[in-house]
Amino acid sequence: MKAFRKVTSHALALDRPDVDTDQIIPKQFLKRIERSGFGEFLFFDWRKDPGFELNRPEAKGAQILVAGRNFGCGSSREHAPWALQDYGFEAVIAPSFGDIFRQNSLKIGLLPVRLPSEQVKELMTRADAGDEITVDLEARTAGGFPFELDDFTRECLLEGLDDIALTLRDEPSLTAYESAHAAPIATNAL
């Protein structure tokens, strides 16, 4: 996973609620079997509208996205955070996120930051004014506002740790669980 420490950049405001992962990356781009190259298809359909936020000049080079509540709802496609990250975003700030989207983002080092709605609104105003915003994971602040993230997840992100290796380090617990619990099914014995 890509490590995340701190990013300072101007930000792009996307002020609408319930932006679903079908919009972030439409289905026709899910057929690729690679992890990279999704950025050019980010918000593919919405970008056809010249007035869409991502088409504004100030969107260029923005590494922070400030969005409405329930950002990334819907499908489990990790292609959505891949596309955002590939496009150049390092962090997304919103009042709330779709659960799976948030989890997927944390797994790849795209930092989802939850802040109260009023603070998000204020950051959107600052984004529209072209101000720079800093998201600092070490300090757990975004645009000066403190946000919550558990220590373990923060540590993994700061160090860019491979969470599979972390789990496998605990092989004794895994084996102990498996010998104490008979599997209820066997997919290879149907």
Binding site: D18, D20, D22, Q28, K31, T167
Partner: protein, 466 residues
């Protein structure tokens, strides 16, 4: 204090719990499909890892599959299916590929094979994994990084979600179905009302539902933002499971029953949130907008943004109506459709097809409508054909197709053209979900069937008996 069904399943699958860390949860069944798995297998390959428990993993092909004879599969889809076949062979994962007779939508085949059982933990790289909760399993969708984690370790790092109970009471009016119940519930909760929660659906209305109906309800939990939906296992659950290929047999069946009967939520258990919904007076539901919470009864009208006080809600409604090309105040029944899709992991099981066929029998699809029925699995298709349902549909002018996700998400040739309006039994009406520019209205199978015949939104009451 007592435990909930969710607590019990969660606690009994904990491998590790440490202060300040997500918990490590063991996964009993990992379902895999072609879209969200290639990068995960590639990750294993790069790191030199193996699949820890191929015997707890099952793959199928569904999203890209071509369901008709009219169009060939595109090259990228073929590559993705080929990659799945190769990955399964290389890593020893059982696969039901197209033509195997056991293929189908991943959330249809798990229950059908008897692999989805009470008390299990089930994951899949697919948000509608919540479907399997209908059996009293804890089942939820994950992304590709987590798919890789489960393949390698058979576990997931998770923080325990909060719990919510939705208690359905009252008398369900005739002709109103599980789909209408869940759409109405999402309308009440909103599309983010369930974020961070596992929902248990309970109450007499749920207890009276068939397994198919319960699967429909749990399927759409994610549309309220919930991680998972669950329903306590009971005699209906056990009767459905008994004798299926993956279900325990003989003495093991008796032991399993004993275990499963201890799962339901204790009377004194406390949920983080509770909601009671009275279904008496509920009508068939139709969505008018671009998320599943934008829903009204079929007797209702398209809402008016001008009447909304909340500025965000007004803006979202205006956007949705512009996309859907609908005028405020239009009666739902006056909206004409050009396409009807009966299928998807929400409503493609045998009971759904029976309900649609019962409406269709003796009628004919409206001349301006193209309608298709896509069974959820090869076995549903076979069963329906054995019952003669395919004849009813075909005689009425429906297309009868092979199993797959089909027009639920349009990763295959079944797509809406820009501007086309569709009555669909699927679960998502997001912009472009069924094809760029397509307009999706979510309904039950019975309403979809009646709408195909009437050419505009209708329920069975409206059709003149044939």
């Amino acid at each position: 204090m007592g435990q909930t069904l969710f607590d019990r399943v969660w606690e009994s699958h904990l491998v590790q719990r440490a202060e300040g860390q997500p918990e490590l949860l063991y996964v009993d069944l990992h379902l895999v499909h072609e879209v969200t798995s290639p990068q995960a297998f590639e990750g294993l390959r790069v790191a030199g890892r193996r699949v820890r428990r191929p015997d707890l993993t099952l793959a199928t092909m569904d999203h890209n599959v071509v369901t008709g004879d009219d169009t060939p599969m595109d090259e990228l889809s073929a590559q993705q299916l080929e990659a799945l076949a190769q990955n399964c062979a290389e890593f020893g994962v059982p696969l039901y590929e197209t033509g195997s007779g056991r293929e189908g939508i991943v959330h249809v085949i798990g229950p059908e094979l008897g692999l989805t059982q009470p008390g299990m933990t089930i994951v899949c790289g697919d948000s509608h994994t919540s479907t399997h909760g209908a059996f009293g399993a804890l089942a939820f969708g994950i992304g590709t990084s987590e798919v890789e984690h489960v393949l390698a370790t058979q576990t997931l790092q998770q923080n325990k979600p909060r719990s919510m109970r939705i208690y359905f009471e009252g008398e369900l009016p005739e002709g109103v179905t599980a789909k209408d119940i869940v759409l109405a519930a999402i309308g009440r909760l909103g599309v983010d009302g369930g974020v961070g929660y596992v929902i248990e659906y309970a109450g007499p209305v749920i207890e009276q539902l068939s397994m198919e109906g319960r699967l429909t309800i749990c399927n759409m939990s994610i549309e309220a933002g919930a991680r998972a939906g669950m329903i306590a296992p009971d005699e209906t659950t056990f009767a459905y499971l008994e004798g299926r290929p993956g279900a325990p047999k003989g003495a093991a069946w008796e032991q399993a029953l004993e275990r499963w009967r201890t799962l339901p939520t204790d009377d004194d258990a406390v949920f983080d949130q509770e909601l009671v919904i009275d279904v008496s007076g509920l009508g068939s539901q139709v969505t008018w907008g671009t998320n599943p919470g934008m829903v009204v009864p079929i007797d209702g009208v398209v809402p008016d943004p001008a009447s909304m006080e909340d500025a965000d809600e007004r803006a979202a409604t205006e956007r949705a109506l512009a996309y859907m090309a609908l005028e405020p105040g239009t009666p739902i029944r006056d909206i004409e459709v050009g396409r009807v899709f009966i299928g998807s992991c929400t409503n493609s099981r045998i009971e759904d097809l029976r309900a649609a066929a019962a409406v269709v029998r003796g009628h004919h699809v409206h001349p301006s409508v193209r309608a298709m029925v896509v069974p959820g699995s090869a076995q549903v298709k076979q069963q329906a054909e054995a019952e003669g349902l395919d004849r009813i549909f075909v005689d009425a002018g429906f297309e009868w197709r092979r199993a797959g996700c089909s027009m639920c998400l349009g990763m295959n040739p079944d797509v809406l053209a820009p501007g086309e309006r569709c009555a669909s039994t699927s679960n998502r009406n997001f912009e472009g979900r069924q094809g760029a520019g397509g307009r999706t209205h979510l309904v039950s199978p019975a309403v979809a069937a009646a709408t195909a015949i009437a050419g505009h939104f209708a329920d069975a009451r409206e059709l003149v008996p044939a």
